[in-house]
Amino acid sequence: MGLGLGVMRTIEFLLLIIAILSAPVLSDLILSKVERRIDLTSQIARIASTIKAENDGSSSVSEILLSIPEVQAKNLAYLTAKLVEGKGKAKTSGVALAVEPANPKGMPPALSFYTMILPKPLANGDSVTLDVLAAFTHSLRPFPEKITQADIQLVVFQDTAHYLSPYPVKVQSLTLKLPDARIESYTKLENTKGLGSEIKYGPYENLPPFSYSPVAIHFEANQAFAVARELVREIEISHWGNVQVTEHYDIVHGGAMSKGEFSRLDYQSKPQIRGASAFKHLVAKLPPRAHSIYYRDAIGNISTSHVRGDSKKTEILIEPRYPLFGGWKTAFTIGYGLPLQDFVFESEGKRFLNFSFGSPMHDLVTDSITLKVVLPEGSKYLSVSTPFVVQQEEEVYYQFNALAMLMEPFMLITGIFFLFVTCIIYVHVDLSISKSSASYLAKLQWDDVRATVQQIQNTVNQCLSTHEKLEASLRDLSRTGDVQACKAARKATDGLLKELSKELKPLISFLQSSPPAAHILPKVEELVAKERELQERLMAKHSTIVDSYEKKLGGRETENRVASVQQKIVALRQDIEDLMEYIDEI
């Protein structure tokens, strides 16, 4: 099985080589030294090359071509080149070079080309040293493609031992760094050395352009093969002080497909053996001072996450709902808020958001990403700068008037204000259609009547409270024996009651004159009459008691004298109360 696959690949490469050999030599550039280091410790193949180029021709050269086989080029995720200045130990990588896709003529079709534009042309005999870093995703192919829960995951990586370049290479070497685990097999060429988890090819000398020597490394890789098939990031700016980031992930385990049963028992008892290929968690490195972090999916919060933060970063460890085996998928959303001043700056009257473009997750391959930036309402003159290749950051420029920030609160305030104004107007405006209609007039009259009845009731109530003062004076009498004070109280109440009954007269006469009050009038009149009677009785009772007190009669006798009056009083009170309630109900 493995053999068949290898053969296929070899044929493919042979074709490639044939194609390559037929291509013309491009210029007089010679690569005097090429060192390549390939890091395969994660699912991303990172190829760091140090290239020393010499101009051997007559004309000066201003750009250098990089060639990548098409099979790999489609997996290329990242490519940068930097000039190295200085020599020996004082080497520092300096200016970043512009790297652009190129399509030089007469080149074999199975290769993709990129050109690095030098800051100043390379004159004859001069040399330059470059650091080229390329990262490839999906270049580790699981092999076998399907494993069970208990199997370890093996992957194959293929590349060429000779540096594939349109220029002749004098000296070159290749180092492969593998994860610290089993190495199943690797292609053995001359000058091949395996040292622990490192494999070294070379040095090879004086190879022509387009030299190609395929190598395949088959090794164990149990690290997380997390692939985000789709990532949607939303950055929402609020000038109230917050940048809200929401990221929707659609994750799949991109390693060898899992087949057969999944046994939780095996996974729990021996997670290292029976679940070696699965990954449990992902780590996201968020900017410092991230707050309000949440982690959820379509059906609710996911409780398995931990946040650690310091002044440089906020690290969040998220566990999906279940461990992911090969081919298993999951989807989730994380969101967090960031302080506005850390990411939105102002220059020359414009504001700009400076934010990293990619996912903050460690070791996550993103197949497709959509980034949405939501600017506040009222933003104008948008422009975006996304210098992808140079740095993974983007800048969004826009103009925003700070006053626009107050727009929404203002709208809210206005809305509520108008609501109240409408209420006030509604309450105060008479909405009846016809002012002269009978029912309207009747209503007005009825309102008057009601007000009058209310006044009468109030007056009667006042009378009643005055009565009560009278009774209180009697109580005082029985306690203190002060007859004079009691008499004075009676006089005072008498005057008060007279005044009140004066007040009642015009009200009653009004009621008598108003037709709608006809049905209520008898009751009101009865009420007033009863009240007057009650007054008289109370006065009588009062004077009797005072009298008997003055005559120093015994309590028993007094009671006997008062009894009949008292009975009447009680009855009258009852009647008045009933009448009041009856009128109330009307």
Partner: protein
């Protein structure tokens, strides 16, 4: 803040004095603020679930409602009415638009739409989660209105405050509990309010509103039959007790006509609104009220002599008509097998009906009769206040108070039949307790006010009081002379005073007449007020505890506290649903017991065989049969239904008691009800349900046992089940027709896949032999697998 004592503000408003209008306005503002605060209280007490857990839909049915709301908000109202759901009841499907009470979903959908059109980007889920708390606030306001109509604003405020936090209602309306009852209780109380309002005012406007409110109730919940039976009962009561009036006619007749018309517009009700027995009472009373109205009318226009003649005429004709109608009714009713009653209604009328005939209804825990502690848990001190409220309603007995009495009596009965209907009891209990508390406070605070030195502030009350005081305790006016009723009533009060001091809470109730107020001694009143406040405080404490601890768990997430105070979350259900939704094909069919049907369709978006709708007993019985059968037969049943995955819930590892093994006997019963080869005694050893070594071989070989306990023994070496607290009977076995594809972290959900059929590799002769044996087996099996 909205504790019952605030309701005292109500009574003070009635005080007639010079500053009455100002006082009224002031009282109105206070009452308004209190109502707003009650609304806030009702909303916020239900947020414990969001604070303690998360903003998530709870339990089972809410997931279905949530899914329907999602569909509605996505596809619009017309698609919703026409929605045929092919992801459930496979292969039958379900017509959602015609079988669902749409009130809740339409409400939430409308809220969502309005909010989004205002550029407030709330998700459908958020709206669904918070619908129930919002409507609880509405419900408490409706309770205020209703009680205000019955006994004045003071009682109204108290009732609203009580309803805002009654545990029984909280249990159904915490944030996330997105179920019909959440809006239905509001609709119920509001309909009753409008009925009472119409009854008190005789206004056709309110009568129309009443019919509309009834329509909303019909849209929301099957419990609308309670309204359409209770109101006729009340009307009948009024007629019988001679309280017929034109107001009663206006309150009732439009409701029946408009209400029935509107109700039949709801697809799930349709012609049931005139065909089923639940509605007949209303029509019967409709006829009666017309006869009575006619009688009153004729009485009005005829002289007494003529009237007697007319009575004989009408009675004879009326009897004939009645007989004819009754005969028709009986014929119609008798023609239907359940006598025109739906199964659930019959369960209410005959509490033993479901356990005899419909195990599916009986198997639901919320359809069991409640226990006494559950009354205390759900309505707490209200249970003691209700009798006092009933007495208060009798003095004086008005149309509206008789309605409240009827409401409490019927709802107490219904709550006694089904624990779920405790929910109908709760508003009634709150209203009556509100009345009781309010009246008690009324009496007590008046007594206190009267006896405090600064009485001048409230002259009219003071006067009334003074009169009584006069009659009973002044030296001048002895109480042996007056022979009026009043003094006679006051005498026992005086005598009882010492007794009452010991038993203050009960005291206010008997003395609660408006006209003849007793004045209680100052100390007794103060103590009584304090005790009532204390009682209210107990109630509040209990309600908050119930809201926070007892009723806020969403049931899809479980938590436990570890010894060091940490919180351990059991999120297994969502783990499994999430796995299903991401790692199986979108058209795969998942078989599980019906409890998990709604959740599977909503959370995992996979087709299920049966769900919580339980409309097709045979289908559920098929799944029950498969679960109770040996592996091979089960495989055949499931395979014939295109099932790819089987999901079982197993609590044996962590001690989660409501798992499938504990529900298994219901599967056997329901399955056996349709497929007689499943016999319950086969699964019981001496009448006992057990899974240990004593268990029957049928039990140990059935699919449910095997799927639950597959490789369980390897966890601890003994196979100790922490729910059943025993070692399992059969420990080491292999599955031949199923393979484990997923088990959640705490083993609570286990998902198995049906193994594909084996390739035929045998020789030709053997093959024919085996096929013959298979066919013969099939004949023998007969009804075992209904899909062959």
């Amino acid at each position: 803040m909205a504790s019952p004592e605030s309701a005292v503000n109500g009574p003070t408003m009635t005080a007639g004095a010079a500053s009455k209008s100002l006082r009224n306005a002031f009282g109105g503002v206070i009452a308004f603020i209190i109502l707003v605060l009650i609304g806030v209280l009702a909303f916020s007490i239900r947020l414990f679930s969001v604070i303690k857990y998360e903003s998530v839909i709870h339990e089972f049915d809410p997931y279905f409602n949530y899914r329907v709301t999602q569909f509605l908000s996505k596809n619009g109202i017309y698609d919703f009415w026409n929605w045929f759901d092919d992801r459930t009841w496979y292969p039958l499907g379900r017509v959602i638009g015609g079988t669902v009470y749409p009130g809740l979903t339409l409400t939430a959908g409308t809220i969502w739409k309005v909010v989004n059109s205002l550029n407030i980007p709330l998700s459908v889920e958020t709206v669904c989660v918070f619908t129930a708390p919002i409507f609880s606030a509405f419900a408490s306001w409706a309770a205020y209105l209703l009680t205000k109509e019955v006994k004045g604003p003071g009682a109204g405020l108290t009732a609203a405050a009580l309803l805002a936090m009654v545990p029984s209602y909280i249990s159904r309306s915490v944030a996330g509990s997105y179920d019909n009852e959440a809006v239905a209780i509001f609709a119920l109380v509001f309909t009753f309010y409008l009925y009472i309002k119409t009854l008190n005012t005789g206004s056709l406007f309110y009568a129309t509103l009443n019919a509309l409110a009834y329509f909303y109730m019909v849209c929301s919940w099957g419990g609308y039959t309670f309204i359409i039976n209770l109101i006729p009962m009340h009307v009948l009561l009024c007629i019988v007790t001679g309280r017929y009036s034109s107001r009663l006619y206006i309150a009732y007749a439009p409701l029946v006509v408009l209400g029935t018309l509107l109700a039949s517009l709801v697809p799930v009700v349709g012609f049931n609104a005139v065909l089923t027995s639940e509605h007949f009472a209303s029509f019967l009373v409709f006829i009666i009220i017309h006869v009575v109205a006619l009688a009153y009318y004729i009485k009005g226009i005829l002289s007494p002599k003529m009237f007697k003649v007319a009575v004989t005429l009408v009675v004879s004709v009326g009897l004939a008509v009645c007989c004819a109608v009754i005969a028709i009714l009986i014929a119609v009713v008798a023609s239907s097998p359940t006598k025109g009653w739906s199964g659930r209604s019959l369960t209410l009328l005959d509490p033993t009906y479901a356990s005899k005939y419909i195990p599916i209804i009986a198997s639901v825990s919320e359809h069991q009769p409640p226990t006494w502690p559950s009354y205390f848990m759900d309505i707490n001190v209200l249970a003691f206040l209700v009798p006092a409220g009933i007495i208060a309603c009798f003095m004086p007995l008005t149309d509206s108070s008789s309605f409240v009495i009827l409401y409490i009596v019927t709802s107490v009965y219904f709550s006694g039949v089904m624990v779920r209907l405790m929910l109908v009891l709760a508003p009634a209990a709150c209203i009556l307790s509100g009345i009781a508390l309010s009246e008690a406070f009324n009496v007590l605070t008046r007594s206190i006010k009267f006896q405090l030195p600064g009485i001048a502030g409230n002259p009219s009350i003071a006067v009334r009081m003074w009169r009584k005081e006069n009659g009973s305790s002044t030296v001048v006016a002895p109480n042996d002379i007056p022979k009026t009723e009043e003094a006679a009533k006051e005498k026992p009060a005086k005598k009882n005073r010492k007794k009452e001091k010991e038993n203050v809470e009960k005291k206010p109730t008997p003395s609660k007449t408006e006209k003849r107020l007793l004045v209680l001694p100052l100390e007794a009143s103060v103590i009584a007020v304090l005790l009532l406040v204390l009682l209210g405080a107990f109630y509040v404490v209990h309600c908050v505890w119930a809201a926070a601890e007892a009723y806020s768990a969403p049931s899809i997430v479980l938590t436990s506290h570890s010894n060091d105070g940490g919180l351990h979350v059991f999120d297994d259900f969502r783990e499994a649903y999430s796995w299903l939704s991401h790692n199986t094909d979108v058209d795969d069919k998942v078989a599980s017991w019906w409890d998990y049907g709604y959740q599977t369709t909503a959370m995992a978006n996979r087709t299920v065989l049966v769900d919580n709708n339980t409309w097709n007993n045979t289908h559920i019985a098929t799944v029950g049969t498969a679960m109770s059968s040996p592996e091979k037969q089960a495989w055949e049943i499931f395979h014939s239904l295109d099932v790819k995955y089987v999901l079982v819930v197993f609590g044996g590892v962590v001690g989660y008691p409501s798992d499938d093994i504990n529900k298994f006997l219901w599967m056997v019963r329901i399955g056996g009800g349709v497929f007689p080869h499943i016999k319950e005694p086969d699964y019981l050893r001496d009448g006992q349900y057990r899974i240990d070594a004593q268990a029957t071989p049928t039990m140990l070989n059935c699919l449910m046992y095997k799927l639950s306990y597959f490789r369980f023994v390897e966890t601890d070496g003994k196979g100790f089940d922490r729910v059943r607290r025993t070692e399992i009977g059969k420990k080491h076995f292999k599955l031949t027709h199923f393979e484990e594809v997923f088990t959640t972290h705490h083993w609570m959900v286990r998902i198995y896949k049906l193994k594909p059929q084996r390739n035929r590799i045998r020789g030709k002769t053997k093959k024919s032999k085996s096929s013959r044996s298979v066919s013969s087996k099939r004949d023998v099996r007969g009804k075992r697998n209904p899909w062959h």
